[in-house]
Amino acid sequence: MIVVRTGILLLSLALVLSGCVISRGRIGNPIDEENLRRIEKGVTHRTQVVELLGAPDRINQAPDRDIFQYYYYDAKSPALILLVFNLLTLNAKSDNLYIFLDKQGIVQDIIYGKRTDRVDFSLRPWGS
């Protein structure tokens, strides 16, 4: 009896999940928030920034300052691939960190925000 029930359960599960595709993609490395907290405005030097966070993904140079940019992208993509109908969504979000350095290489400002913790696997083609 248990074998039959398990068989029915597995068959039902296989039917329900048939055609389901779940995938995920990432670009870059997640920003290390613990190391980010060690960076102090007016104190930390660019060499320490690089030691803590690695080389920046992009450097924006201006006459009186440099901006180190670090970014990370996360995307989740569920899909339903049926015989006659296909539905696919891909939801991507980004984290960005900007560290402003003066000409002496000292950190002046930090702009950081995180969105990737809100990426979901929702499968809805409508909405904005």
Binding site: N60, Q61, A62, R65, I67, Q69, V84, F85, N86, L87, L88, T89, L90, N91, A92, K93, S94, D95, N96, L97, Y98, D109, I111, Y112, G113, K114, R115, R118, R124, P125, W126, S128
Partner: protein, 141 residues
């Protein structure tokens, strides 16, 4: 007679439903969350800092320097794509189905830019213009 009619009607409706989704594919790609004008009501030009904007909206995708000014750009997008393979109809009568697909894609890339001074105080902001595309656009002509 009534039972037979409703059964026939149900079969016809089900057939229409199945036929209407035959060969259909709907795809949607989103990048970041949309930012609306209502979300920016807290901003006081000349007072609000970029840090406060980031706390409300998340981080900008790009920061560029222009002389003594700085431009922070927030971007988000929605791409919708749909296709209808009319060749699927041949599967009803033939083991081999030709491909004849109508497909449409709408890409909305939207942005809002903030102009800040050296101290990262917001002095102006502006939305880019974008047209909203329909969820499903099969007709490519």
């Amino acid at each position: 007679m009534t039972v037979r009619f409703s059964s026939l009607l149900g079969t016809v409706l089900l057939s229409i439903l199945i036929l209407s989704v035959l060969g259909c594919a709907v795809r949607r790609v989103t990048f970041n969350e949309p930012i609306t004008a209502e979300q920016l009501r807290f901003i006081r030009l000349g007072e609000t800092t970029l840090q406060q904007v980031v706390e409300h909206l998340g981080p900008p995708e790009d920061i560029t320097m222009e002389a003594d000014q700085l431009i922070a750009e927030f971007r988000w997008s929605t791409t919708r794509s749909a296709s209808l393979n009319l060749g699927y109809l041949f599967r009803l009568i033939s083991p081999v189905s030709p491909t004849f697909t109508l497909s449409g894609t709408g890409i909305n890339i939207e942005h809002v830019q903030f102009l800040c001074d050296k101290r990262l105080t917001v002095h102006a902001y502006a939305f880019g213009k974008a047209d909203e595309h329909a969820i499903i656009e099969f007709w490519p002509f």
